[in-house]
Each structure stands twice: as structure tokens, then as C-alpha cells.
Assembly symmetry: C2
Homo-oligomer: 316 residues x 2
């Protein structure tokens, strides 16, 4: 690995990009939630530990949702309890409603993620609430979260394309982001849920929401379903975004394209960023260990190109 990375040395930087990126590692939640295999809480906790050892600072650990509807996230409280505090790490729980917040608070969670969407149909299908209803619920939850000292991020999913309704316009995203910001969150994460966005769309949406959301509170969550995630990251960085979600090994798949690629792979993201001299805090060696463990849990090879290349080169 050291040898691989040393080949970048002579010239790396691209003008106008940040010197450091904060990665939010989502494999234990967004990744595993969309896998067919159910992974036991103690194994999810071990995955989180391996990710933390690899340098992950922000990790989406689990979701407080109905276990009958989302069995893959059952036992999220147990995962948090097993982990306790990990020094210097932000362990995030998805809490899409008041009951989720109650459960998260009960087990000492300190960082939460809310969920809404830019597409009405997707919002209703995914969390059983309209966009209006979700905003109203979060307006009630956030003051309580704040009073408990929680850090709060909100996802605006289907910010580019909706699997049901098709095109989503930047104006639609702006409207939802404006209302989410008014609720009072720390960070808004703009998500390409179905991985169909291309760089021009990223620029258009980021331009549209800039007046209501400071760039330092903007995160991007790109799925790699059609292979464009890293190009989308690049254009988002060129517009000032410094926070990106990714999942070790690219786990997660796409429920709307069974068999297709899932989240942007953390290894691919880290390879590109380190290759440009952008710090992430991650070690590729550590990531390979975490993804190798994850691959074992799922019983299948993972789709990260950098992971597979590194494994091939270091084992040959």
C-alpha cells in the first residue's frame, strides 16, 4: 500500500479543491440495510470497530426503526450499547420519527440522522409520511434532540431522480432543503438515492440550494449504481462541498435495480482523494481489513474497484 501510494508523490493536487474531506461511513446502516443477508448486532459492532480502526471518524451505525419492517436493522440499540463511546468518533443513528428518537436517547446515542425526500412519492413510500408530515415531525423532534445535546443531520433523498416519479428539479430540492434548514439541523445531506445523477445535475442542485444552506453544512451522498459517483464527488468538491458519504466495499446495492452496484465505495473515494493529496484520516490498509470482514459477513465479493485492485496486487 505504501508503495502504491508513493507513486502519486510527484504531482497530486487539483486547484480549487479542499485539503481535507470528512467522510461519513455508512456501510453499517445504509449499506447493510439494503443487503439480503441479515447481520447480527455483535458483528455489526465489530464492523464499526474495524472501520474506526481504519480511521473512520463519522460512522452511521444503525437505525431505530420498526424491526418487523426493517429486520436488517433489528438490534441497533444493542450495537450502540456494545460500542459505547469510541474516542473521537461520531456514531450516528438514523431516527426517522419520534419513537426512533426516544429509543436512540434511551441507549445514549449522541448523533442522529433524519430522513426526508425531495420527491413526494418516494417520501411516502419510504417512511410513510408526506414531505410536509416529515418536516412537521422533525420540527417537534429537533428541539428535544438539541436539549439532549445531540448532533443532527438530515437526509434529503431522491434529490436528483426519483425511482417512481422520474426527474426531480433543483427547485423541488431547494424547497425541501429550505424547510429542513428552518428545522435547525447541523448538516443537510443531499442524496442521489438511485445513483442516476451525473455531474451537471450535481452542479445545478448545489447551485440552487446554496442561498439557503451554507456549503460547510452541505454533505453529499452519491450511489454508484451507474458508475458516476466519483465524478459527482469531484464536481461537488469543485463547488466547495467537503463532506461525503460512502460505504466500505461499496455495499448496499440498489433496491430499484437488483444486482446493481450500491453506495459509493469508501476505498474508491479514499483512493481518489489521497491521490489528490486530500486528507481523509483513513488508512487504505485498515479499510481493506474492514471490507474483508464485511465481505465475509455477506458471503460475497464486494464491488469496490480500488478494494479489488489492492487485494489483487498485494496477494499476487
Amino acid at each position: 500500500m505504501t508503495q502504491l501510494e508513493s507513486s502519486w508523490k510527484p504531482y497530486t493536487a487539483l486547484a480549487g479543491l479542499p485539503s481535507r474531506v470528512r467522510i461519513v461511513e455508512v456501510s453499517p446502516r445504509d449499506g447493510l440495510q439494503n443487503e439480503a443477508v441479515i447481520v447480527a448486532p455483535e458483528k455489526r459492532a465489530e464492523l464499526v470497530r474495524l472501520l474506526a480502526e481504519a480511521g473512520a471518524r463519522d460512522i452511521e451505525v444503525g437505525a431505530f426503526v420498526r424491526e418487523d419492517r426493517v429486520p436488517s436493522m433489528a438490534g441497533s440499540a444493542e450495537v450502540f450499547r456494545q460500542l459505547g463511546d469510541i474516542q473521537g468518533r461520531r456514531l450516528i443513528a438514523l431516527t426517522p420519527n419520534q419513537r426512533g428518537l426516544d429509543d436512540a436517547l434511551a441507549c445514549g446515542v449522541k448523533s442522529i440522522a433524519l430522513f426526508t425526500a425531495a420527491s413526494e412519492t418516494f417520501c411516502k413510500t419510504n417512511i410513510g409520511m408526506s414531505i410536509d408530515e416529515s418536516i412537521a415531525v422533525y420540527r417537534g423532534m429537533v428541539p428535544e434532540a438539541r436539549a439532549n445535546g445531540l448532533w443532527v443531520r438530515a437526509y434529503v433523498s431522491t434529490a436528483f431522480v426519483c425511482p417512481y416519479a422520474g426527474a426531480v428539479t433543483p427547485a423541488q430540492v431547494l424547497e425541501v432543503v429550505r424547510r429542513v434548514v428552518q428545522v435547525g439541523v447541523d448538516e443537510v445531506c443531499i442524496a442521489d438515492t438511485v445513483g442516476r445523477a451525473t455531474p451537471g445535475m450535481i452542479a445545478a442542485v448545489l447551485g440552487a440550494i446554496a442561498p439557503v444552506l451554507p456549503i460547510e453544512r452541505t454533505a453529499c451522498h452519491f450511489h454508484d449504481t451507474f458508475g458516476c459517483a466519483l465524478a459527482n464527488v469531484l464536481v461537488a468538491m469543485q463547488r466547495g462541498v467537503t463532506v461525503f458519504d460512502s460505504a466500505a466495499g461499496g455495499v448496499g446495492g440498489c433496491p430499484f435495480a437488483p444486482g446493481a452496484a450500491g453506495n459509493l465505495a469508501t476505498e474508491d473515494l479514499v483512493w481518489m482523494l489521497h491521490g489528490m493529496g486530500i486528507e481523509t484520516g483513513y488508512s487504505l490498509d485498515g479499510l481493506v481489513r474492514a471490507s474483508t470482514y464485511l465481505s465475509g459477513l455477506l458471503g460475497r465479493p464486494l464491488q469496490s474497484k480500488a478494494l479489488n485492485a489492492i487485494v489483487a496486487m498485494t496477494s499476487s
Copy 2:
């Protein structure tokens, strides 16, 4: 497909990018040359026909090289003979030496590609000639090719990282490109042979060679071994490049990382370009047909993310 593409409509373009890109489809040569399975000439000809039907205009069809050393390219003359002329298509043969040119001329080839490298070690290992020797050979070949009305491109491989020597500097690439341009070729293709380049390196090398190579005669050939190929295409387009190589399905692999991803997949490239309103002349439906045929020839699934997503969505 039409429905998928329609979700892009409302906002697509990214400022400063070209309105049209010329893709050089390399699956029949660079792709198949690096696959373990040997494909018979009549099947390679059928692949080329399917690619042409999908809208490919520039296709690297075969290589005139020693059949004992490169058995996968044996019968390239037969492939060209079976194809004859395809209206409006440029069918390219790799001819890395005088004997290759003789053979190509003998079967009526009208477009050739030469091969050299920015890394001395790679050049010697790959074509058995030093960089100096390769330039000297091409200085002899190009006037004959010109006299026969041939179109000539030259690859400068390992333009970013050499699998043997590690880092390659922009100054090394500049020196080789300068000499290749003096030989008198129509197009110089800057290749990331091992797929380890990241966007900062692309910008540095394109900046270095700009004084000696007009941007309209610059092509880029990015392997997707570490997943960065599309991000590299994006930054190259931002610097004015409008010609990119890719292979249907992403075939080809990497001889230096067995099992890793190969060429940039044409489907992924076309998805990103069409998603930004950039014309390519390709139809994604046609590409899926060509890649499905190719997948059958190789007896394995292909790694293009867009291909796999489209197949999953249209078959579910």
C-alpha cells in the same frame, strides 16, 4: 432506456464542457487482448458489427503483432477482411512495428495506432524496444502510412504511473509526446495503463503537454482499475479534451492486478456524457446488446456499472 434517459431532461449541462465527445471503442483489441479467453476472428468481427450498430464510430478492431506472443489477436487480418468497409466508421489496427504496418496495408486497413510509453521500463517490456527505438521505428513508418492515406494515432502508455518504475512525471510525458508529435501523427492518446491516476495527475499531464500537442489532437485512455476513470474524464473534458477511449462492458482487466477492473466501460462513459447532454452517437440499448454478446463470448458477467444497472432495471 428512453424512460431512464428522460429523467435527465430538466437540467443536464455543466458549464465549460464540450457538446460532443468522440469515443474510441477499444473492446475488440485492448479489451480482448487482456482477457484469458481467446475469441475467434468471426466472433470478433460480429462484436465490431454490433458496436457499429450501437453507434460506435471509431473502433480499435485488432492488432498486427506476433501471433505466438499475443494469441488473442491472432487472425486480426481475417477480422478486417470480414468487416470490409463499414460506412462512416473508422476501423483501427494496432501496428507497433514495420511488419505490423506491412500486414495492415496488405489487408486494406485505413487507420492505425502506434504504441510507445512514457516509462522506459514499460516500453521495453511491452514492445521490446526502448522509447528511442520506438520513435525511430515510427519515424520510418509514418511517411509510408501517410503515403498510403492512413490515419495515424499514437498511444503514450504509462503516462501517469508505471507498474514497474512507479511514478512517471509530467516532464517525462512531455518529452515523449513532443517526439511523437514530431513524427507526424493525427492524434496522441495519453494512457493510464494501470488505472492508478487521479484527477490532479490528469490536469498536471495535460497542462504539461499542451504546448506541444493541440488539445483537439489529444485523446485520453483511462483504465478504471481503481474506479477513477470517469472522474479523470471529467477533469480532462474541463481542460478541453473531447476524445476518450473506452471498452464495452469495461472488458480487459489489468495484467498487473489480476481480477481487477479493466478499461473504462463505454456504458458508464456514455451514461455520464448523455446525462450532461453531451452527444456521443451511441445508443445505450445498442451497447447493451453488444456487451451482452461480449459477455457470452467471455463466459462471465462484465463489470460496467451502468450496464449491470440497466440490465437489472429492464429485466425486473
